[in-house]
Each structure stands twice: as structure tokens, then as C-alpha cells.
Amino acid sequence: MFVAGIDLGSATGKVVIMENDRVASTVVIRSTASPEKTAALAIEEAASKIGLKAVSDLEYIVGTGYGRSGVSFITENISEITCHAKGAHWLNPGIRTVIDVGGQDCKVISVNADGKVIEFAMNDKCAAGTGKFFEAMARTLDCSLDEFAALALRSGNPCSITKQCSVFAESEVITLINNGERQEDIAGGLIDSIVRRLLSMIYRVGAVPQVVLTGGCARNMALVKSLEVSLGIPVIRTKEDPQITGALGAALFAQAKALIQNK
């Protein structure tokens, strides 16, 4: 029995196909302007990887992410908060705090021993502290996202950057460039500023170990390291790509629902 979870984020669409409690296929693609199209493309790719004929071969599909409610072939949708908690718990049942930094928002979720959400905090509308922010700053520093993270990791003396709004931070960065600051230290400063923003949310919910970082930005090792230093506790690494945690959670719900349906 195959089931799928689709996480339709603002920047990327993620699909996880599961078979009998095992991840069978995963895929991450860039989002198109239509969640329906992103979902179709992603699921097709994930299915063809394991020789399936897409939607008709899947028993149950759960959607999550901001595009979750508009897709015709999704059986049910569940919020990304619940899905990230579920996915993270499956990867490591010891996890009590999930910090999800995605394309346009970030969340801190406190999870109990059963993988259920106890409490959560979420940023407000603006994109500060999210993937969009990193993209804008990498553009200003004229480098790719990977280079941006690599630069920050090399910083010995991160600049102090106080603005968290992308527009204002950009002008702060331009001033720093003009003042002759090293690119590494500007990148390091930007990472630290984002971590400070995350901390305010983390403190609201509490940072109970074990802590995991999920979402696309979790691939940024400079962010992981800076967060570990600020929290004074390690951020655990999972065996699957942290970016697919939400889709994984959705797939786990799909699995449970399919079982009930087939009873």
C-alpha cells in the first residue's frame, strides 16, 4: 500500500511516498504559481522514481503547507505545524522542540512523547527570518544560498546587524559592504540576526531538548551552528533531509488514515 504526503510551501513543493512505514520516495521541486500544478509535478516525479503511475496508485494523499487547501486530488489537508511535529517525531521520538524555518514563515513547535503538538509559535506576516530573507540577502551579497552559508561558516567576527526586515537589512548590508567589512562577517552577522529573531519565538514556547531544525533553511549549516551556540544545546541531525519533514508527517497521517479506511 502506497500513500503520499505533499507539502506545498511558498518556495518548494515536497512529496514523500511511503510504503509500510518506510520512506519509498522523496522529491523536492520549486513551487510554480499554482499549488495544483506544483503538487501534480512533484507527485508524478516521486511516483515515477519507484515505478508508480502517480495519483491512481496512491491509497491516500494528505496535503500540508500554505497551498494545502486548493489541490483537487488531495484527500485531506492537515496544517504544517501538526505535520512537522509528526514527521520529526517519527524520525526521532526523543524530539521535544521542532524549529521549522521555511520559505515564508517560521514556527517553533513543542511536541510531547507521542509526537503531538502541545504548543506552537509562528512569525507574523512579514518574511523576516525565513528563506525569503536569506534569498534576498544572498542576492545582495551576490552569491548563491550555498555560498552564503559557506561564507557565514568562515566568519570569525560576525558583524552586528540589527534590522530584521529584508528591505532595511539590505540597506544595512550595503552600508557594511561600503565600509569594507568582509563578506564572511556580513553573512555571519545576518545568520546571527535571524537566530536572535528565532530565539524570541523559541523562548515563548521553550527549548526543551531534543531540538531539531526542519524546513528548507535547516540545510544551512551556519544557521544550525549559530542556533546551537545561542541555545547552548545541540541541534540534532536527522537521517532524512530536514526539508521533507512536513511532507513526511503528512505521509504518516495518510498512512494512518488509509489503514482506518481499509479496516
Binding site: I78, S79, I81, T82, D105, K116, V117, D124
Partner: protein, 385 residues
């Protein structure tokens, strides 16, 4: 999730709540009668009714922006006063013949001063409202009410007799009684009306002549008694907050599958939980009602314990599964209240979510995600998801 209604009463209420102006208000105006804008709780609307005028609770529903407010307010003023002032400058509230305000918060003070300078409504009156709830304060407020009454009489050349005041109080009490009847229906397992619709009914009462409103509400209640109940909902939710006048925000919460069955809102239960006394001198009764009797908002010192009890009491009475409290960003009164509520509800094991929402709802994706996740969290505890 939508109850079916035979008549158009509910639609009329919805239309009234969704626009700053409505048909009954225009009719009122056409017949040469006056309208007085009220800012916002704690205004003894009965005095205005007794003067033969229509009390209109100031609102800026449908406002598109705050550009025209920007030069008059600072970055720390809340969206409500900015949108309202903007609508004022654009002339959209030009139908009011007077404006009366209490010093509910500093933002409203600033609003009043700016209005005085830039918009200049023919009649304006400001009533300092006590900061504390107590007998002495009620006496002081009684004097304010007398001043207000006198100034209305003088400016509009009317006479507000005690008999007229008593009649007005009875009329407004009747509105509150009918509204409480509406709330009673929400206690049912299958309430016959959604939370968004109830909110529209409540908001509509603030911009219509009370006689007409009471007749319409009586009609709606008759339909509701015989109508079908709503059963396709997941959780029962209570909403707590201040001056939220857009039923859409409740609609957004309910779009996630729950039913809002109770509230402690400025336009909601806090405004109708109690009646004004009809056995004592009218102005004293009105002062006591606002200072001592009605459930206070966080603006009044020393009322936190009562308010917490009030929320818990309603949560129990209406059998809610969780509480969502809403606040406009930059509203300091409700910021402190959020902190208080989080702690209080946690202590009593009542699930709680806080939402920051703009006065004019534009993007609703975030609210939906938060509400959905909150409901999933509750149903996780309820059904072991």
C-alpha cells in the same frame, strides 16, 4: 456549515455589519434626525437615544488604507484608530452630527484630538472615564454623564427628561435581552447559527435604530427556534478580544471546521451580560452600569480577576473546547491581557491560542494555519489523533 434561513433578516444584519452606512441609518438621516458617533465602550448610548438621536458606534469597515492618517499618528498607534481616522478624512463618516468619546486608551485620545483639529464634527464631547472600578469612580462618572446630557441638550436644543431616559434604558435593555436569548441558543449541542453570523447580528445593533433592530432580531429568533441546528462542526470555540467589528475574522476561524459558540468581545457578550438598572435614578444607573456592573475590558484597573472568572465561566457554560484570543497589533491594553490570559487558561487546563490580526483583514492564510493547527492540537487531545 451554513444554517438555512427563510427570511432575509440575517442577510440584512450581515449587510449592515459589513458597511459603515446602511439603509436604516440613511432613512433616519433623511427624516432629519441626528446621529452621534460613539468611541467606543463605556458610552451611555441611552442618553443619546433619549435625546431622540441615533448612537452610532464608530467603525471603519471596508477601509482600504491608512495613508491619510499617517501624518497625524505615530508608528505605535493601533490600526483601528488609523483606519477610522482615514475614513473620517475621506468623508465616509460624514453622516455623524456629533462625536462623543471616552479616554479608553491613549490611541483614542490621539484620535479624538486629531478629529477635533482636522475633521471638525459640529458637536464634540469628551468624557474622561475612570481608570478604576469603584463606588467613588461611579459617582465621578455620574457627574460626567450629567455634563454630557447637559451639553447635548444645549447644543441640539432638546430636552432629556428622566422619563425619556428611563424609556431609552428599557429599550436598550430589551436589545440586550434579545441578544442574550440569541446567545442561549448557542449553548445547544447543535446551535442554529454560526459564530460569524451572531457577530454580524451584534455589530449591526450599533448602527441601527434600536426599535427596528429589536423587531428584526425578534423575527430572527423565531426562525432560529424552529430552524435546524448545525452539526457538521468539530470543536466549540470561544473568542476573546476587544473592539473587533468584522465578522469575517470569525468566519476565517470557522472555515477551519470549528464553530464559534461563545465570546468575550467588545461587541459581544461583555456588552450584553448585564442590564442597566431601571429602579434607580437613570444617570446613576448608567454610571453604575459602566463603572461597576458590566464586565470590564482590560482597560480598567483591578478587574483582571473578574474578567478571568468571566471567561472561564462562559467557557464552561457554553462547553467550549478552546479559547482563541485576538488582539490588534500595537494595542497595549490587549497585549497585557494576552499574557494574563495565557497563564490563567493554562492553569485551568483550557486550550488557548493567541492571534494578532489587523483591523482590516487582508491576507488570511496565517490565521487559517494557526487556527487549523490549534484545532488539530485540541482534537488530538479530544480524539487521540
Amino acid at each position: 456549515m451554513n444554517a438555512q434561513f427563510k427570511s432575509t433578516i440575517l442577510q440584512d444584519f450581515r449587510k449592515t455589519a459589513a458597511n459603515p452606512v446602511n439603509v436604516s441609518l440613511q432613512e433616519w438621516k433623511k427624516s432629519g434626525r441626528k446621529i452621534i458617533g460613539c468611541m467606543y465602550h463605556y458610552i451611555p448610548e441611552e442618553i443619546i437615544t433619549a435625546a431622540g438621536m441615533l448612537p452610532y458606534r464608530m467603525k471603519a469597515v471596508g477601509s482600504k488604507g491608512t495613508e491619510l492618517s499617517e501624518s497625524c499618528f505615530t508608528q505605535i498607534n493601533c490600526g483601528f484608530v488609523r483606519h477610522l481616522f482615514d475614513s473620517g478624512v475621506r468623508g465616509e463618516l460624514g453622516f455623524i452630527d456629533g462625536l462623543v468619546s471616552v479616554n479608553n486608551c491613549d490611541h483614542i485620545r490621539r484620535f479624538y484630538e486629531n478629529w477635533q483639529k482636522k475633521i471638525k464634527t459640529p458637536y464634540m464631547h469628551f468624557m474622561p472615564f475612570p481608570k478604576k472600578s469603584g463606588r467613588e469612580q461611579a459617582e465621578v462618572y455620574r457627574k460626567e454623564l450629567a455634563d454630557f446630557k447637559n451639553s447635548l441638550e444645549k447644543h441640539f436644543n432638546v430636552q432629556i427628561t428622566d422619563t425619556k431616559l428611563k424609556k431609552a434604558i428599557e429599550l436598550h435593555n430589551e436589545t440586550r435581552r434579545l441578544q442574550r436569548e440569541l446567545y442561549e441558543l448557542r449553548k445547544k449541542k447543535n446551535p442554529p447559527i454560526t459564530g460569524a453570523d451572531v457577530h454580524a447580528v451584534m455589530v449591526a445593533s450599533s448602527s441601527m435604530p434600536k426599535e427596528k433592530y429589536n423587531t428584526m432580531l425578534t423575527g430572527l429568533l423565531e426562525e432560529l427556534y424552529t430552524g435546524e441546528g448545525i452539526s457538521d462542526y468539530s470543536e466549540r470555540i470561544m473568542v476573546v478580544g476587544g473592539e473587533l467589528d468584522d465578522p469575517k475574522f470569525i468566519e476565517v476561524i470557522e472555515s477551519q471546521g470549528c464553530l464559534v459558540v461563545a465570546d468575550s468581545l467588545g461587541y459581544g457578550y461583555r456588552a450584553i451580560a448585564e442590564d442597566v438598572d431601571t429602579d434607580i435614578e437613570p444617570l446613576t444607573a448608567l454610571a453604575e452600569y459602566h463603572v461597576l456592573k458590566r464586565p470590564a475590558c482590560p482597560r480598567i484597573f483591578g478587574t483582571t480577576f473578574n474578567r478571568n472568572d468571566f471567561v472561564r465561566h462562559i467557557a464552561e457554560e457554553f462547553k467550549v473546547d478552546g479559547v482563541i484570543s485576538v488582539r490588534l497589533p500595537l494595542c497595549d491594553e490587549w497585549s497585557f491581557e494576552q499574557v494574563n490570559l495565557i497563564g490563567y487558561l493554562k492553569k485551568h487546563g483550557i486550550p488557548h491560542l493567541t492571534l494578532d490580526i489587523d483591523y482590516i483583514l487582508s491576507s488570511t492564510g496565517q490565521i487559517k494555519t494557526r487556527s487549523q493547527a490549534f484545532l488539530e492540537t485540541i482534537s488530538g487531545t479530544k480524539h487521540g489523533r
